[in-house]
Symmetry: C2
DNA sequence: TTCTATACAGACTAAATAGTCTGTTTTGAG
DNA sequence: CTCAAAACAGACTATTTAGTCTGTATAGAA
């Protein structure tokens, strides 16, 4: 029942990274929110950066695997599965009580833009997370091809990257426009696109 | 012939924002690069933020208008125009000698992710720039519809947002993967998508 | 040439903040 | 209960950095 302070710190840091970014995140405020102190944090982590990277890794892997893993299996039609997934995404929550609020966009995109050019360790992790995400989608597309539910005229990896790019860009626009209809419209266009790419020519 | 120090400061700040982001940008380093001093900068601008916003505004408007304005008029076929545009984009340069290097992604996306949730003034500007960009594409799509070069079964604004989202997301992936082929593949898929959306059903 | 406003130069200030270090409390094994 | 190791608490340090302020050079008008 008792929550581990290490986990609380990870959770709190993730929220802070998601809402304010890395450089604008203030350790003292963060420790206050987590209900601990400098000593508490530096007991578990060697630095702010170490905690931040661990937070992105743990929460990122968890969310990607739970949300994007094997969703095609839960539906008859792959495209219906994607549609349902896109409908569910805005309502998703990440680990515990940290809401995945669309108004803050995508935490991965946030960190990629701010940190990947500044720090090699961040970049390595973020690339791994993106690859993991893309690979999960690609795997499902591939098995849909193998089972004959989708055509074979497209490369699963390429289309998986296209899907992820489209989502990321849409969330960027969402973040600055604050209008959920943009997301719904774009995802509808994306599904329409995929239906054509998958079954025709 | 003699360059204005105000313009040099704008140029230098833009480069710094693009490469390091706002919070990681250091004024003293920036002034050294620009070849001036504190007094020089605060003579023209009231604060770091004021210079940063002016830099994004000037360079952003300039690039959007010059690069994305009326490109359909320069080609017979709208889709060929888009293909050509996507081919030209990685080679584009922004004002003077600041290279629009793909490895740093898109400066608009960079600032949206880092600043739009932290500062209302940044957010307002960034939204204006995105709207300006989308409106230019939408206008060209609309006139292609009017002239009969494209079908009328799609909404120009929606598709313009979809195009911009796709580009932004692709540049995010580019930034973390550092592979130009991802861009080329995604843009090829995007053009293929648009050709279907524009002419069929 | 003189004079004044613009355009700088750079030392200094003040605040924010990551990281250190010393000490105290809690916990669980023996 | 004892005691040692883990889990904190929080004052302190050191550094970074935006912004200020005083002073100087330069350019153009009269």
């Amino acid at each position: 029942m008792k929550e581990n302070m290490r986990d609380i710190l990870i959770q709190t840091m993730f929220e802070s990274l998601y809402h304010e970014g890395y450089n604008a995140s203030n350790l003292i405020d963060l420790l206050k929110k987590a209900g601990t102190s400098k000593g508490g944090m530096y007991h578990y982590f060697g630095s702010k950066k170490e905690l931040a990277i661990e937070a992105m890794r743990v929460v990122g892997e968890n969310f990607i695997d739970r949300f994007w893993g094997g969703y095609f299996e839960r539906y008859e039609d792959p495209l219906a599965a994607l549609s349902e997934l896109f409908r569910a995404l805005p309502k998703a929550t990440i680990i515990g009580d940290c809401p995945f609020d669309f108004k803050y966009g995508c935490p991965l995109n946030q960190m990629i833009q701010e940190m990947s050019a500044l720090d090699e360790d961040f970049k390595t992790l973020l690339e791994l997370l993106m690859d993991r995400w893309i690979a999960l989608i690609s795997k499902d597309l591939k098995s849909a091809q193998d089972s004959g539910q989708m055509g074979t005229s497209f490369d699963p990896d390429s289309v998986a990257r296209f899907i992820v790019s489209s989502i990321e860009g849409t969330l960027t626009l969402m973040k600055v426009k604050q209008d959920i209809r943009i997301y719904e419209e774009n995802m509808a266009l994306l599904v329409r696109t995929l239906s054509v790419l998958s079954f025709k020519d």
